[in-house]
């Protein structure tokens, strides 16, 4: 730490996994079964450096001051590596726009003094948000990589897998560390590419290839939104940098999230343009984070290897949308309507995904819908636009990364031991044969369900608190009277600006009413109950009831006895019609230590991190030093840190109801027996068909496009090709005329040659005549 400057360390975080990836690619064949070494070494180094950076940043931020949050000074460090693609005189902001330099007079502007160059500084930034994200990414990535050495050990694509994982960690680190929207876009695409490659890792499997294609195409929709948003940002602000830069002549060029602009309360574009930017950013986030219109790719992405699902599709990549919106908090703060849309999208997604999750029988798909649902939670929290909402979202992101990675890795452990079977109806009672997996899975489930005092309880409670504060501002008013005086004033001012601008933005802003937030709050609370239900349904189906294992599962034969009566095992197994496998019940199906160790490691933070971070209030204090969150519109909404007992009771009650219903339905029963869903009637059909999103998209998007493609193909084949072919037919026809002269007779050829020579001779004689 003493030898390395923070900027060097910051560069090391993405660099080490990149080197690891490249080495894995280059040496993969030589290393063979040791191909994981470069990748794991790189990710481990990155994780260590990230933790050091987190510590350094935390030291800069300073300790939390009790319960009363004071305005914190933004902490930011920029490391510019090089400038990429510089164009002079690329942009002259119109006078009066937020991009214009306020220090210049209109005469200066007319004289062209504000003409700026366009360049893309490859700059990395370090602030609390980035440090938190980097730590999550690298630590989860490290554990997943270690786990993968066991899970993937006999896969022919072993080196490829680790190269991709390291590549993903690199891309994701760059995404959260980049200090420029264009770089964010680049690595936004890069993580999408890694995701595509990892979903389609078993590309010979048609479902995997199809799922990879689907994920990529659905993500394109969101990426399109991000691209347009970046264009609009450039048009509006004249820069794509997050940070302030100082031009060679000493003028400070304000970055989008730079200190200069943050200090200026009116520094952000509102109105219809700002709302458009925010909604486009939201579209991008929806694509990457699998929110409601674009969520369809995530469940299918479970065709990829389970570690990849854990790493990318549960813990890290899908949080890119959360990160993006948190980073863009000042932009959203200027557009309350867009913020409300964020919450509506998030809460709806959370509810819909939870409903679908209740009837899934595929363990990984349950977790996938759970992921969508939890991400929806985070979006709902972000949409409140308050500091509490943003920090709660990141808090939930952190805890979710822990317990969802744990759950996925646990599911992978089950799948690994069950010979690739993931359908919960085909096995049961596994707690006796996979004790470590079962215990850690239970911890993760409790965290997901929001059972106190596990991690999810606290983060979910903060989200509910953020929503509650928006829904019933009066109830919270006494806690932050000063903030309330300032915050609504800000919002009202922006709303007034927006109403001057255009009507549609006003329409969106009209959504920002307590009634809306009350609905969203109740949706979230219902979702909490549903979450608890489907989580424990999965736990009960998988780990309780009679012990059954599917055909083809491979016991490790350690003779590890779980201490329960042999007779009951054998009896259950025989009763289940697997008499031939009765002996297997005595064997251990537990996974190797490389797989169980990460489970245990992840179980610890899943259980504890919520309590630790909540009671110390460290995370929210730390995050509030992020420059984006120090914008007046955001920072002014800071509320005193407190534990909302009534909300905790409500959340716990919802979770308890869910768990109880799940226990009634599934505890101790055969997992392939009749299930709860039979009570749902037609709703069950609706949920099982995932609200018919795929058929609707197919009918609305895919089929028309296919029809269009068919028309285009026909046009191409019969019109374009017809023209080309008929043009090509002309030389063929001409050739057919002279082809007959190709008789193969030597003397005819000689005659033709002689006549040609003769023509030349006659021509020469004619030219040279007297």
């Amino acid at each position: 730490m003493q030898e390395f400057s923070p900027s060097t360390l910051l560069v090391l975080v993405p660099l080490l996994p990149l080197v690891g990836a490249i080495l894995t690619v280059l040496l993969g064949r030589q290393l063979g079964a040791k191909a994981h070494l470069p990748a794991i070494a790189g990710i481990a180094g990155a994780a260590a450096v990230a933790v050091m950076l987190l510590a350094a940043t935390a030291r800069d931020v300073g300790p939390a001051h009790g319960v009363h949050a004071e305005p914190v000074r933004p902490v930011e460090m920029i490391a510019t590596l090089w400038n990429w693609a510089t164009f002079d005189s690329a942009y002259a902001p119109p006078a009066g726009s937020p991009a214009a330099d306020p220090h210049l007079t209109p005469q200066d502007l007319a004289a062209g003094k504000d003409i700026r160059s366009f360049s893309i500084p490859v700059a990395l930034r370090l602030d609390p948000l980035t440090a938190t994200m980097l730590t999550i990414i690298t630590c989860v990535g490290l554990l997943v990589a270690i786990y993968s050495t066991g899970y993937m050990h006999d896969d022919p694509g072993y080196p490829r897998f680790f190269a991709l994982v390291a590549m993903f960690v690199f891309s994701m680190s760059m995404l959260v560390a980049a200090s420029n929207f264009l770089l964010v876009y680049v690595f936004w695409e890069a993580v999408g590419a890694c995701s595509y490659l990892l979903i389609g890792f078993w590309f010979t499997k048609p479902e995997a290839a199809r799922a990879a294609k689907k994920a990529f195409l659905v993500n394109r929709v969101g990426d399109f939104g991000l691209a347009i948003a970046v264009f609009l940002l450039w048009m509006s602000y004249g820069t794509l940098d997050f940070h302030d830069t100082i031009s060679p002549d000493g003028v400070i060029m304000p970055g989008i999230f730079g200190q200069t602009r943050l200090a200026d309360a009116a520094g952000y574009v509102g109105g219809i343009l700002g709302t458009a930017i925010c909604l486009l950013l939201l579209l991008a986030a929806c694509g990457k984070s699998a929110q409601l219109p674009l969520h369809v790719w995530l469940p299918d992405a479970m065709e990829g290897p389970t570690p990849a699902s854990a790493l990318i599709h549960a813990a890290t990549m899908v949080t890119a949308g959360i990160y993006l919106i948190t980073r863009s908090a000042p932009l959203f703060a200027a557009c309350p309507g867009a913020l409300t849309i964020v919450s509506i999208v998030g809460a709806t997604t959370a509810l819909v995904a939870a409903l679908i999750g209740t009837v899934q029988n595929d363990l990984k798909r349950v977790l996938a819908y759970s992921t969508i649902s939890q991400l929806g939670y985070m979006f709902a929290s972000l949409g409140t636009g308050t500091l509490l909402g943003f920090t709660a979202a990141i808090f939930h992101l952190l805890t979710h990364a822990c317990f969802k990675a744990l759950l996925f890795l646990g599911a992978g452990s089950v799948m690994h031991s069950m010979g690739g079977v993931i359908d919960m109806r085909r096995f049961g009672g596994l707690r006796r044969v996979m004790p470590i997996t079962a215990a850690t899975f239970l911890v993760g489930s409790a965290a997901l369900a929001g059972v106190a005092p596990f991690a999810g309880f606290f983060s979910k409670d903060e989200i509910l608190a953020a929503l509650h504060a928006k829904a019933w501002p009066a109830a919270h008013g006494d806690h932050h009277a000063a903030a309330a005086a300032d915050g609504p004033f800000q919002l009202a001012r922006f709303a007034a600006e927006a109403s001057h601008s255009a009507g549609s933005a006003v329409g969106l802003d009209a959504l920002d009413r307590p009634e809306t937030w009350q609905i969203l709050f109740w949706m979230s609370l219902i979702t909490a109950g549903l979450t608890a239900f489907y989580t424990f349904r999965a736990v009960f189906m998988t780990f309780t009831g009679p012990t059954r294992v599917p055909e083809g599962a491979h016991g490790h034969g350690h003779g590890h006895d779980d201490g329960h009566g042999h007779d009951s095992h054998a009896g259950h197994a025989a009763h289940a019609g697997h008499g031939g496998h009765a002996g297997n019940a005595h064997e251990s199906y537990e996974s190797p230590w490389t797989m169980t160790l990460p489970l245990v490691i992840l179980a610890v933070p899943s259980a504890l991190v919520g309590w630790l971070l909540f009671t110390t209030n460290w995370l929210s204090h730390f995050l509030s030093a992020t420059p984006s969150l120090t914008a007046p519109a955001v920072a002014s909404t800071a509320t005193p840190h407190m534990f909302h007992m009534n909300l905790a009771i409500q959340g716990t009650l919802a979770a308890a109801i869910g768990i109880v219903i799940a226990a009634i339905g599934h505890l101790g029963r055969r997992s392939d027996g009749p299930q709860m869903e039979r009570f749902l009637g037609p709703l069950q059909t609706l949920f099982a068909n995932k609200f018919y999103f795929d058929p609707i998209y197919s009918a609305l998007v895919v089929r028309p496009l296919e029809g269009l493609a068919l028309v285009a193909a026909m046009f191409d084949r019969y019109v374009v090709d017809g023209i080309v072919d008929s043009i090509a037919g002309i030389p063929v026809a001409l050739g057919g005329i002279v082809r007959r002269s190709q008789s193969g007779l030597l003397q005819r050829y000689a005659l033709a040659g002689v006549m040609g020579v003769l023509a030349i001779v006659v021509l020469l004689a004619w030219q040279l005549r007297g």
């Binding site: 082809r739 190709q742 008789s743 007779l745 030597l746 003397q747």
Partner: protein
């Protein structure tokens, strides 16, 4: 400088050379027999030789003579090699026909065959007859004494 070095001799000799060359060219283009084609080629060489010597005479130097000597040499080489080829071709096809070799034609073009082949000459060849004298040698009547046609 005598009169033989005059322009008329040059022109006349060149005309003879041109006629020989043209006739040889026609022969090589029309005749199907490989041997006759060969003779026609040699005839073209003769036309060239005449022209060269005429020019040499006209200019009064040895160049044309020397060149004709080399033409003779090359013609001899050519004759040796080409006749071997002709023999090879004959042994493969049984014919001395240049049209027997058509495999380089376009795939869609059919093989060129002689459609209106003339019938065998109805006019029998006439050989000079001599007054019989001496004793008739005992000869096999079945064995022809001469070819029907040469």
């Amino acid at each position: 400088m005598n009169t033989m070095q005059s322009l008329p001799l040059l022109q006349n000799a060149l005309t003879v050379g041109a006629i020989l060359f043209s006739l040889g060219l026609i022969g090589i283009l029309t005749r199907r027999n490989l041997i006759v084609m060969f003779l026609a080629a040699e005839m073209m060489l003769q036309g060239i030789s005449v022209s060269l010597v005429a020019w040499s005479r006209y200019h009064g130097d040895w160049g044309g003579h020397v060149l004709v000597i080399f033409v003779l040499t090359v013609a001899a080489c050519e004759a040796a090699v080409a006749l071997v080829f002709v023999l090879q071709a004959f042994s493969r096809t049984g014919r001395l026909d240049s049209a027997a070799w058509q495999s380089l034609r376009e795939a869609t073009v059919g093989r060129t065959v002689d459609h209106e082949l003339p019938s065998i000459d109805t006019v029998p060849p006439r050989f000079p007859t001599l007054t019989p004298a001496g004793i008739l040698p005992a000869a096999d009547e079945n064995e022809p004494l001469q070819r029907e046609h040469v």
